[in-house]
Symmetry: C2
Subunit: 347 residues, 2 copies
């Protein structure tokens, strides 16, 4: 049996509680490899203790791995020692950008028996392909005369044909592999005309090469309405980094909550390790109490297995999660390790 | 009795159908002024016929009015003769920017009897104060090597202390006038660090001057979850132009749909006329059939009355809408003028 070199970044808060459960499941699943774990103590706690966010040498080390499993990163809100963005830009986004995670994959399914806040959610099963390396997330921009009445601050959304085409092609390929073969572009072409234009043109060009995939377009604001009124209409959604951030939290909310939402930061060219993480944050308010639901982390491990080519093992983890979800009693809560045990026991 | 000089821009599609109903209500309501209307044929139809979006002379003429009532602007999707953004940037946003509509006011209430797509919406009654003259809406940005594989397109979000402070102050003043006196800042300070920093700092500074207003902060992605899981928690929300665009469509969706969502593009300094319009668009798919619900346009007229100082008349229109809503039979639909007649008859 071969070895998968796995970099593990539990991070902060509930990240440290849910990650062991995802690892438990990776150990339990029947897969013809051994996971060789290296743990990295990165995140708010580490930064406050050492002043380091992500040293270059550590970045270089992580790069040598086959995949990354991340819990959650982030300290207490408004901690004066944690300027906003320092961990997000310096660690999480740094990894996404350095390792060229241009496909930020976020599946949304309403699992049978899971309650939705919607009256009539219908049969929700879609995946958002969020661009991961461009848009308003590049860190371009700056500020002048900070703290004075003459302050001006800019944020620059950068969109390239190179970056848009590769993620749009990935989304079409994914749509083609799904039964409904439908792809929706979400943007705001009527206001962000330059960025919208490159997204729209490339989407249309690639669509012409995929006559078997039906397509439509929706402004991000209109997408809010469709997502709450008729989310089952979606199959695959491709969108920009910021719109993808927003729409996937809404998608998580309508399909049973952020406790179930998994994600993969994928480098489809495999020039660097892909990274798998729950959509949720470190949740300092409930941290340290083993109250967090590890399901999103476990489903992220399932995405990791699929990415590494172990489709059967990935499906087995998903099936175990489904079985566990079906037996949850609304109103009761289990401790984090109990959920992990229950899912692992089914494998 | 005095005269209110009202510029009326019915626009396109259902804009032409709902605007007469809002005017009908303005005629019917008991108010000690006469509305002197000047109609302007602007929008997609006019552009396709004349090639003009908004001639400078027309803009100057509209500026002489006391207020503007707008229906909706926009042609058929993907009309090759209507490049994306041409009307949005050239007409709608042009008016908002030229007339310094820095407070884009969007109230959301779940009226008694109106169905929500949420299982447990609770008692929803909040107002979004969306910044209207900055952020990613400025039109800053551009593109290089368009149509080539080396294309790069940028969109620049511009945020000034001047622009942020005035809208934040307006939001605090509004929060102070409401029973719950709570204000939520929505942004994405952990990624958009420069823009986020000026918003955050000014919000904190103005908060210190309003100890009677309680405050909190939420990232735009987290706001998606709160809006679907517990929308009754919101009282006043202040946010940037783009986040406000997105969150108000979600707010409309959860409070009975875009057919009820009103808005005011307000210039609180009254250096130019404010503009009132439904949040919905021109809906070419249902245009010409008198099927559109004019309630959002009528509630926008109510906001107009309030802005002009006729608080009682404004409240009377809202009460008439509420009474009409309470008597709607789910599953039945009335023609656009029937709804207008029914509301006007109650005044
Ligand atoms: C923490 C933050 C930087 C991140 C993002 O905005 O991408 C998170 O919200 C997510 O969706 O993974
Ligand atoms: C039509 C469009 C330019 C506009 C906006 O984005 O502001 C609309 O969506 C709105 O919310 O009024």
């Amino acid at each position: 049996t071969g070895t998968v070199n796995l970099a593990v970044i539990p991070g902060d808060g509930i990240g440290q509680e849910v990650t062991p459960e995802a690892l438990k499941v990776l150990e339990a699943v029947d897969v013809p490899v051994k996971f060789q774990q290296t743990h990295y103590a990165l995140g708010a706690e580490n930064y406050l203790a050492t002043g380091d966010v992500l040293p270059t040498s550590v970045l270089a080390e992580i790069r040598q791995h086959d995949a990354i499993l991340l819990g959650a990163v982030g300290g207490k809100p408004n901690d004066p020692n944690l300027p906003p963005g320092i961990l997000e830009r310096g660690l999480l986004l740094k990894l996404r950008f350095e390792f060229d995670h241009y496909v930020n994959l976020r599946p949304s399914r309403l699992f049978p028996g899971t309650p939705s806040p919607l009256v009539e959610p219908g049969d929700v099963d879609f995946v958002v392909v969020r661009e991961g390396t461009e848009g308003p997330y590049t860190g371009n921009g700056g500020a002048l005369r900070v703290g004075t009445p003459a302050e001006v601050a800019t944020e620059v959304s950068v969109n390239t044909a190179f970056g848009v085409e590769r993620v749009v092609r990935d989304a079409f390929a994914r749509a083609e592999r799904r039964p409904r073969k439908h792809l929706t572009l979400v943007h705001k072409t009527n206001v962000l005309v330059h960025a919208g234009s490159v997204w729209w043109r490339i989407f249309e060009t690639v669509a012409a090469e995929h006559p078997d995939v039906t397509t439509d377009y929706m402004h991000i604001d209109a997408a809010m309405i469709h997502m709450t009124v008729n989310p089952s209409r979606f199959d695959v959604i491709v969108t920009d980094n910021l719109f993808g951030d927003i729409i996937t939290d809404l998608a998580a909310a309508i399909t049973g909550g952020i406790g179930l939402a998994a994600s993969g930061n994928v480098n489809p060219d495999r020039t660097a390790p892909s990274m798998f993480e729950p959509v949720h944050g470190s949740a300092p308010d409930i941290a340290g109490q083993q109250k967090a639901d590890p399901t999103a982390a476990i489903l992220s491990a399932s995405l990791l297995l699929d990415h590494l080519g172990y489709a059967d093992a990935s499906a087995a983890v998903e099936a175990a999660v489904l079985a566990d979800l079906a037996e949850r009693t609304p109103g009761t809560t289990r401790r984090t390790p109990e959920v992990g045990d229950s899912i692992a026991a089914r494998l």
